[in-house]
């Protein structure tokens, strides 16, 4: 602590400490703890809060699993279905994203000349100046029944009737994959870029095929970047709201939409909190699993 003060001077040190403490305590810990507590409380009108009925209860978590008491089903198939579908789709989107971004990141890091790599990075970043909602609507226009893509496909005679990209969730997958592409590319790019190019040449000189070189040299080297990109993309995809609202098919629900409904439309903050906590828990478990799978430590992921 003393050396920290000596190194940065009193003014900067104090600023850092206040900023970090404020960020951690007021913006992360207190709201999350409040939500956690709220998720274990019944949904009461304001007048009854803090009264004798305001006790800790598992009612909202029970609701997620068993559904409302008036329901005839044994389990809450609808909510559990939405939840599982969200997690499954997020995992699929993460995998698609990884497969899609790895070649691009490798190209930028090792193949392209510095100038064209920079140009490519700019080309990747600029579309993200447009906000997520607008980008989603733009994709909706592209993928609509009489949208640009269908018109082109029909116009060129490749298909006879328009494809319903929205109902097939193609639009949703595309939108979600595109939404967080940078968060996959940059960790991958950073990781691959730090690989000594001589290692690639050495592998090639020893007779290695391109695929083997990637499998044995590049991917093991970049695994921290892969884990980092996958966790970020997964978390943000599972927690996305705007893209699924705009692009999902009418009968597909995203779990965040349920959370949104409990908070806003049904005015049931406790249940919304419980659902949020569920999503957060699964996301954290996913991150821990990824780290286990890739044998990376948390310090390597954020590097």
């Amino acid at each position: 602590m003393n050396s920290f003060f000596n190194k940065n001077g009193p003014l900067i040190s104090t600023y850092f400490i206040i900023a970090i403490v404020f960020w951690l305590i007021f913006l992360i810990i207190i709201p999350q703890l409040y939500m956690l507590d709220l998720s274990f409380r019944p949904n009461l009108p304001p007048l009854l809060r803090g009264g004798p009925d305001d006790v800790h209860t598992l009612v909202h978590y029970k609701h997620f699993i068993f559904g409302s008491e008036t329901s005839a089903d044994a389990y809450n198939y609808v909510d559990i279905g939405v939840f599982l579908n969200t997690i499954f789709t997020a995992i699929m989107v993460t995998i698609i994203n990884l497969c899609f971004c790895y070649p691009i990141a490798f190209y930028m890091a090792k193949v392209a000349k510095p100038n064209s790599a920079r140009l490519l990075i700019v080309a990747l970043i600029i579309p993200f100046w447009i906000n997520e909602l607008l980008r989603s609507f733009a994709l909706r226009i592209l993928f609509a029944g009489e949208g640009v893509i269908n018109n082109i496909l029909i116009g060129t005679g490749l298909i006879d009737a328009g494809i319903n990209f929205i109902a097939l969730d193609i639009a949703l997958y595309t939108g979600l994959t595109y939404a967080y592409i940078l968060l996959m590319i940059f960790p991958l790019y950073n990781a691959i870029e730090s690989l000594d190019t001589n290692q690639l040449e050495a592998a090639k000189d020893l007779g290695s095929s391109t695929i083997r070189t990637h499998w044995r040299i590049v991917i093991p080297h970049a695994k921290a970047g892969i884990a980092s990109g996958c966790t970020m993309v997964f978390m943000l995809t599972a927690g996305a709201l705007a893209t699924p609202v705009v692009l999902s098919s009418p009968n597909t629900y995203w779990f965040t939409q349920l959370i949104y409904q409990w908070f806003n439309m049904n005015d049931n903050w406790s249940r919304g909190s419980a659902y949020s906590i569920l999503l957060l828990s699964v996301s954290v478990i996913f991150v821990l699993l990824m780290m286990r799978l890739f044998k990376v430590k948390i310090g390597e992921i954020v590097r």
Binding site: N198, Q199, L206
Partner: protein, 370 residues
């Protein structure tokens, strides 16, 4: 198996810049051949052209008589040792060595057996399960050699692999590399800017400058009979005397420099061909520091001059004595440490002598910049 390597009129251009310019050389089967030159002279470019990482803009690379055009580095009978070794840090030593076999689909047991054999060759038996970072610099060096030898290449290419080592280890590795080459008997092509390295290890050297071959020959020939002023000054130390040709007699040229007259052999291109001079030509005469002696009763050779002592520099085994002729031209000579130099104080005039057989006259040209 070992193969010869032939470069036929190789040129490599980057835009309008010639990294290599019309290089032709024949490297014999089983030879230890070095390309020697300052950084940026194009030697690494040539090595990359031989290994297949770079296509020459013009010319051909023949290995074992076969044209290598269109054959990638993974298909050539060559193996390259990188300057930074490029060992795979996430694999064990044995996996590194056997990587080329893994690539070829050799089974695990067979791979391990071969790795152990090679570890024995490089005197690292039993270290196969270590990670690369657990080895010392010299050990890593040897692992890189073993990895390159595992595919049984016909030609081993080495890109300044010793440059990262400290002096003692570097000297030890020179001997070791030479011994390994003798044992495996394949062609070694070595790239270095260190003339000591090139001269101690190689059968023949090619001296390069600015993308062009200056001279190819046996080590002592290149040292004793440099072909160009660049070679004369890049390989070893040399004193250039800017001079004018006075007379010519067969291989001997009489020149005048700073008021002194010297006789020297004309530099030769090869056995039969000498540089030809005419009287009055502007030339440079080179005489090496170790060929100049203090003149006395017992030591009197056919060339003599006088100069004044400037400074004496102690270099361990040698003492370098810096002189001035007519107080404007620098000359340096060196004597073994054992020689008593107490009489040579600053500004004292001394008489010096050297043999015409050790002096070489060459046409004027650019020197290697120190």
């Amino acid at each position: 198996m070992s193969a010869d390597v032939e470069l036929q009129n190789i040129s490599v251009t980057f835009g309008s810049f010639y990294a290599a310019k019309n290089v032709s050389v024949k490297i014999k089967q089983g030879e230890f051949f070095s390309f020697l030159g300052p950084s940026g002279c194009g030697k690494t470019t040539l090595l990359r052209a031989i290994s297949g990482f770079l296509d020459p803009s013009e010319g051909k690379v023949l290995i074992g008589g076969q044209d290598m055009a269109g054959i990638g580095p993974n298909k050539r009978p060559t193996s390259l040792i990188f300057q930074n070794l490029a060992l795979f840090p996430l694999m064990t030593v044995a996996d590194n060595i056997a990587f080329s076999l893994e690539v070829r689909g050799t089974g695990k047991i067979e791979r391990r057996k071969r790795a152990d054999e090679l570890l024995e060759l490089i005197a690292l038996s039993g270290q196969g399960d270590k990670k690369v970072h657990e080895l010392s610099g010299g050990q890593r060096q040897r692992v890189a050699i073993a990895r390159a030898l595992a595919i049984e290449p016909e030609v081993l290419l080495l890109d300044e692999p010793l440059s990262a080592l400290d002096l003692k280890l570097r000297q030890k590795m020179r001997t070791e590399l030479r011994a390994i080459q003798k044992r495996v008997g394949i062609t070694f092509i070595y790239i270095t800017h260190d003339q000591g390295e090139a001269l101690t290890m190689s059968d023949r050297v090619a001296v390069m400058n600015e993308g062009e071959l200056e001279q190819v020959g046996l080590c002592d020939d290149v040292y004793d009979y440099p072909n160009t002023p660049f070679v004369a000054t890049f390989v070893g130390e040399n004193n250039p005397f800017y001079a004018k040709v006075l007379s010519i007699n067969k291989n001997e040229v009489k020149v005048e420099s700073q008021g002194n007259t010297f006789v020297a052999t004309a530099g030769k291109i090869n056995e039969n061909q000498n540089h030809s001079f005419t009287i009055g030509d502007e030339v440079i005469m080179f005489i090496r520091p170790e060929s100049i002696f203090i003149k006395n009763e017992n030591n009197k050779l056919d060339n003599n001059f006088s100069a004044s002592v400037n400074t004496i520099e102690f270099e361990g085994n040698l003492k370098n004595i810096y002189l001035k002729i007519n107080s404007n031209m620098d000359v340096r000579f060196s004597v073994p440490n054992a020689v008593d130099t107490s009489e040579l104080s600053s500004n004292k005039d001394v008489e010096l002598t050297f043999s015409s057989k050790k002096a070489v006259v060459l046409p004027k040209g650019s020197l290697a910049v120190d």
